[in-house]
Amino acid sequence: MMDGTVKKQPKPFANPYAAGVLLGVVLFVAFLLTGSGLGASGPLNRYLVYLEDKIAPEHVNRVPYLINYAGGDKNPLDNPFTFLGIGVVAGGFLSGLIHHRLRFETNKGPRINNQTRWLMAFLGGILMGYGARFARGCTSGQGLSGGAVLSVGSWAFLLAVFVGAYALAYSLRRLWI
């Protein structure tokens, strides 16, 4: 702040139903303009395969799943999802900036330290990445997008995510409450 005033208070979050309506409209616009929905693990997957192709191209050229993305001269980043992913980060940052919510922080329950939280975040991230590929999509690509176009598999997936999370929540409550 140039004028030396106190850091502005973060603004409250939007009404969840209003945010949900906006989310639905954006999801619809995505389908209307591009024919496919939104995604989060799709873009991340492409960034990773790009790195993998730089480090171990022989491996990429042997695995059918990876060949599909980066076999031979194929660039896994040459895809709209690459830019969707960049947009998501930029959009979240922009909103954080506008609503004074940008800061370095470690979100965790009061009973654990930052180190535990970071370790668990890493372990959880591995599971999220593995599960998303296993299920052919994450909560955005498989759940949200597939759910909106009434894919049976997507609804089974969504249900499984909530069942899994609720099933484990009590045992790991120390992490969050």
């Binding site: 979050f13 939007a14 969840p16 945010a19 949900g20 309506v21 989310l23 639905g24 409209v25 954006v26 999801l27 619809f28 995505a30 389908f31 303009l33 591009t34 024919g35 929905g37 830019f83 969707l84 947009g87 998501v88 980060v89 959009g91 979240g92 922009l94 909103s95 954080g96 609503h99 919510r101 979100n107 965790k108 939280r117 668990m120 975040a121 890493f122 372990l123 959880g124 599971l127 999220m128 593995y130 599960g131 299920a135 052919r136 994450c138 909560t139 955005s140 949200l144 909106a148 176009v149 049976v152 598999g153 089974a156 499984a160 995510v161 899994g164 609720y166 099933a167 929540a169 969050w176």
Partner: protein, 114 residues
């Protein structure tokens, strides 16, 4: 037969504006998606995890409102002939991979907080 048979989406953006046009549209859609997730509170993992301790139902409200609104718009537009549903990507169903992968992601959500 729809009301606007001359404009059946999804729009062929790549054919109309080339790859750059398509990538720009994807970026703008992502920008809106990220912005909306942030205003909904999805940038805070404590808030997200609170869903599973029944202390804050934001995840549920935002996600399912979003799904229902998009669903109504998609099938409404399809009924009006604005959107050709046959050209919309519908995730193919792989039931068990979806269920097992979903459970793994649910575990990951509680452990990792996202």
């Amino acid at each position: 037969m729809g009301w606007f048979p001359e404009f059946p989406g999804p729009f062929p953006i790549e054919a109309m504006y080339g790859k750059v046009g398509l990538y720009l549209v994807a970026f703008l859609i992502g920008l809106a998606f990220g912005y909306i997730l942030e205003i909904g509170g999805f940038g805070n993992s404590t808030k997200l995890a609170a869903q599973f301790y029944l202390k804050d139902m934001t995840v549920f409200k935002v996600m399912f409102t979003g799904i229902v609104v998009a669903m109504v718009l998609i099938f409404g537009a399809s009924g009006l002939g604005l959107l050709d549903y046959n050209r919309v990507y519908v995730n193919p169903t792989y039931l068990w991979p979806g269920i097992v992968g979903g459970l793994i992601m649910g575990f990951g959500f509680i452990i990792g907080g996202f």
